[in-house]
């Protein structure tokens, strides 16, 4: 009984910062105070007129979409190689692809920034995407690999024996069965990229600011209700996203298979 009370208290505490953000975004005062006063949607109207935030949202959305496609596309062949084949150096390849998860994200950010400058690539949306692909592909590999692990390779072999060329056999026999893994990988990569601040802070330029970095950059100013409205919209958008994908992939499964981090 006491354990239940403790657990539910902890759950409430976990949700307090998010709930406080949403609650305060409706305040009628022009500064942030708790408890919020009154109720108005005024700050949402103001938030939707912040052109630079809309631009950042569109940029983040684009980067996350491209990242999701690339991470899944790059992750799938690696996952197939790791699960279906035993080859010398397999453990090393596996460790290599998991290393971006072990390295501190800040270190990857600094390494990429210095690298881009040394080879004079500079910061473009492509270099932002590259950074995001590096940190999301390991998740995609793990999620796709875990959906492949439970699969009987005999199914694909049967297709081959019936005369299908290798790629066709893979597309017709294996692909439909690992679709949940691919979906989960893409969703996870999308969310991780959309939320990413640590890599983006280093690779953003004044003209290329992702939404989380745009919000972060206001750290030295007093919190304003319109900013909380923007944060609330992002929270709402995340909740909708979870609700939509929860049917296809369970969020817990996402983190279970993606492992720590």
């Amino acid at each position: 009984m006491t354990l239940r009370v403790v657990t539910y208290t902890l759950i409430v505490l976990l949700l307090v910062p998010l709930a406080a953000t949403v609650a305060t975004s409706f305040t009628t005062l022009s500064y942030v105070t708790f408890p919020p006063q009154g109720f108005t949607l005024r700050w949402y109207g103001e938030a939707l007129h912040k052109q630079e935030f809309l631009d950042s949202f569109v940029l983040s959305l684009g980067i996350a979409l491209v990242t999701a496609v690339l991470a899944t596309g790059l992750g799938a062949p690696v996952a197939v190689a790791l699960v279906r084949y035993r080859f010398p150096g397999r453990d090393l390849v596996n460790a290599f692809f998991m290393s971006p998860l072990i390295l501190p994200t800040v270190v990857i950010g600094i390494a990429l920034l210095q690298f881009y400058n040394q080879v004079r690539i500079g910061s473009t949306s492509a270099s932002l995407v590259l950074g995001h692909v590096i940190v999301t592909t390991p998740y995609a590999i793990r999620l796709i690999a875990s959906s492949l692990t439970g699969l009987d390779p005999a199914i694909e072999r049967a297709a081959r024996n019936l005369g299908a060329p290798p790629l066709r056999a893979f597309r017709l026999a294996t692909l439909p069965l690992i679709r949940p893994g691919l979906m989960a990988g893409a969703v996870f990569a999308f969310i991780t990229s959309f939320d990413n601040v640590t890599i983006s802070i280093f690779l953003a330029t004044p003209r290329m600011v992702t939404l989380p970095v745009r919000i972060y950059n206001l750290w030295d100013q007093p919190l304003s209700p319109w900013l909380l409205a923007i944060c609330s919209l992002v929270i709402l958008w995340t909740v909708v996203l979870i609700a939509v994908v929860e049917r296809a992939v369970s969020v817990r499964g996402l983190f279970g298979a993606a492992g720590a981090r």
Binding site: V6, T7, L10, I11, L14, P17, A20, T21, T24, Y31, V32, F34, P35, L74, G75, P77, V78, V80, A81, Y85, F87, F96, F97, P100, I102, L103, P104, T105, V106, V107, I108, I110, A111, L112, Q114, F115, V133, I134, T137, F194, D195, N196, V197, T198, F202, P212, I215, Y216, D220, L223, L228, C231, V234, I235, T238, L241, V251, R252, F255, R261
Partner: protein, 288 residues
């Protein structure tokens, strides 16, 4: 085995390996190379190609060592806080009925899907001078002036515990799941009270989960950057903040690289311990 079978994994993974070498391994290697250079911070010209100057500068300076100390202290506190609050959550999840468990699990994990920045701003509302905690305290007339919570180590510890909490819960939960309920039942049949069965049976058996969760949370805390920057500001500097500052404000890239390498070595050390103690089954033989 046919040649094509032997080549197949490399045909599949090879191009991606190459991509990761160029855009991940090479940048990290260059970071090491850059960390032993020395630039003149006035002209940004490289004045020495190979020197340990940057490392000496960090490791023999009171200020930088102080920042390292702050970082380690914060990380230890975050790990303890996550452990103490994570264990009850994990035990409850393990005993809960499937439906309740699934719902609670979703609530525990879902904050991970909201950007760090937004979660940190949420804490500013809770901890700020006009925030929730001060509002409640002054409403109850417990304090005359608002408590200073923001931009303190306490704020950073609270924020980081919140961010890394799910990892601790999942680690302990998965180790609790591996415990055979019959073992706990046996202890109780032999006369142990539920409390005693917990302390003498369940808790020791869940040590691998505790160690795994603690190492993950500690490693993540040591290298965290965004949450300390937002909740601690320039007043609570951590190592990752120094690296950022040297790289983007001071523009002393070699020094930033050296700080990154120090951070990397620190987390590599923790991750090595993780591999050794947890994944290699260091505890496997102990509790058979």
């Amino acid at each position: 085995m046919r040649v094509s079978e032997r080549l197949a994994p490399w045909l599949l993974a090879g191009p991606v390996v190459l991509f990761f070498v160029v855009f991940f391994a090479v940048p990290v290697a260059l970071l090491f190379a850059s960390s032993v250079e020395r630039v003149d911070t006035a002209t940004f010209q490289v004045i020495e190609r190979f020197t340990l100057h940057n490392y000496r500068r960090f490791l023999f300076d009171r200020f930088y060592l102080g920042v390292l100390g702050t970082t380690l202290r914060i990380s230890v506190l975050v790990t303890l806080a996550a452990l103490v609050t994570g264990y009850p959550m994990a035990s409850y999840l393990q005993r809960a009925k499937p439906r309740e468990r699934a719902a609670l699990m979703l609530l525990v994990v879902s904050p991970l899907l909201v950007s760090l920045v937004i979660r940190s701003y949420g804490w500013i509302i809770v901890l700020g001078p006009l925030g929730l905690i001060n509002g409640v305290l002054s409403g109850l007339h417990l304090v005359s002036a608002p408590l200073k919570l923001m931009y303190t180590e306490t704020a950073v510890v609270i924020g980081l515990t919140h961010v890394f909490y799910p990892f601790m819960v999942l680690a302990i939960y998965s180790s609790l799941q591996t415990i055979d309920p019959a073992v706990v039942q046996a202890a109780q049949n032999l006369g142990a009270s539920p409390r005693m069965a917990f302390w003498r049976v369940t808790l020791p058996l869940s040590v691998p989960g505790i160690v795994a969760g603690s190492l993950i949370v500690f490693a993540l805390s040591v290298s965290s950057f965004v949450t300390p920057a937002l909740l601690g500001g320039p007043w609570v500097k951590v190592v990752a903040y120094l690296a950022w500052e040297q790289n983007l404000v001071v523009l002393d890239w070699p020094f930033a690289a050296a700080i990154s390498v120090i951070l990397l070595v620190l987390t590599a050390f923790v991750m090595y311990a993780y591999n050794r103690f947890v994944e290699r089954g260091w505890f496997a033989g102990v509790f058979q």
